[in-house]
Symmetry: C2
Subunit: 151 residues, 2 copies
């Protein structure tokens, strides 16, 4: 179950003090990338789980076109990551939790089906939604509690 | 003139067989990043000039927030790159040519001023537009001519 792998990555990110989001890229039934959010530790605003996973998959496969790949991610992609999926010509996206703040594949906008762009991809949303969402809720609750203790 | 530097990068990309787009990041009057499109040579769908420049600037400055930086780029950013500018909390974007196919900062959509996202940035469009646009037109004309000769 690929979303369970993405969730493992998300939990590992949370343990590292990063907002817990994880992603996996699958090609022909094989996992070719697994990555987690690393914005703080890498001090890189582009180091979202999806973007790292896309780059890793392209590196493994030796090509920028991921038209035979599926990306699994625990949280709905932001505009940057949804745009990267278009650029990578991804075949399919599967995501867990919806993102009311920055979701660009159904919530605030939908970059997966914009007919003006040169690629569209299939989307399955809400897979293991409760678990993917709980990991985020618990992380941010913990942050707020530590801030209260600290302040 | 920072756009002239970005144009130099664009021309270097073209000479390398890449769609000629160049970008520069400026912070406190200093150039902290200069980059060019490298999608084919890096076999990386995310290797647009802007994304590389943002990552390079963050690495140089040792932080993911680029809220005191301006990015200059020869072509209007695509959704991925415009989303990366939001994520980087960029202060300002200056671009040259408009992109009718994928422009996400004014043409197809405008990610710089979406009030639902957690950051907005200032935009100056059309700087050295003629030169920025000519570099692209000549590159693609050359490609078509070589394809005709080859075919």
């Amino acid at each position: 179950m690929y979303m369970a792998l993405a969730l493992e990555e998300a939990r590992a990110a949370g343990a590292e003090g990063e907002a817990p989001v994880g992603a996996v890229v699958v090609c022909d039934g094989a996992v070719v990338a697994r990555a987690r959010n690393a914005r703080e530790s890498a001090a890189d605003p582009t180091a979202h789980a999806e973007l790292i996973a896309i780059r890793q998959a392209a590196e493994r496969l030796g090509r920028w076109r991921l038209s035979d790949c599926t990306l699994y991610v625990t949280l709905e992609p932001c505009p940057m990551c949804a745009g990267a999926l278009v650029n990578a010509r991804i075949d399919r996206l599967v995501y867990g939790a919806y993102d009311p703040k920055a979701g660009a594949v159904g919530t605030l906008m939908d970059l997966s089906s914009d007919e003006r762009l040169n690629h569209r991809f299939a989307v399955t949303a809400g897979v293991l939604e409760r678990e993917c969402s709980a990991v985020l809720t618990e992380f941010f609750r913990g942050l707020r509690e530590r801030q209260k203790v600290g302040g």
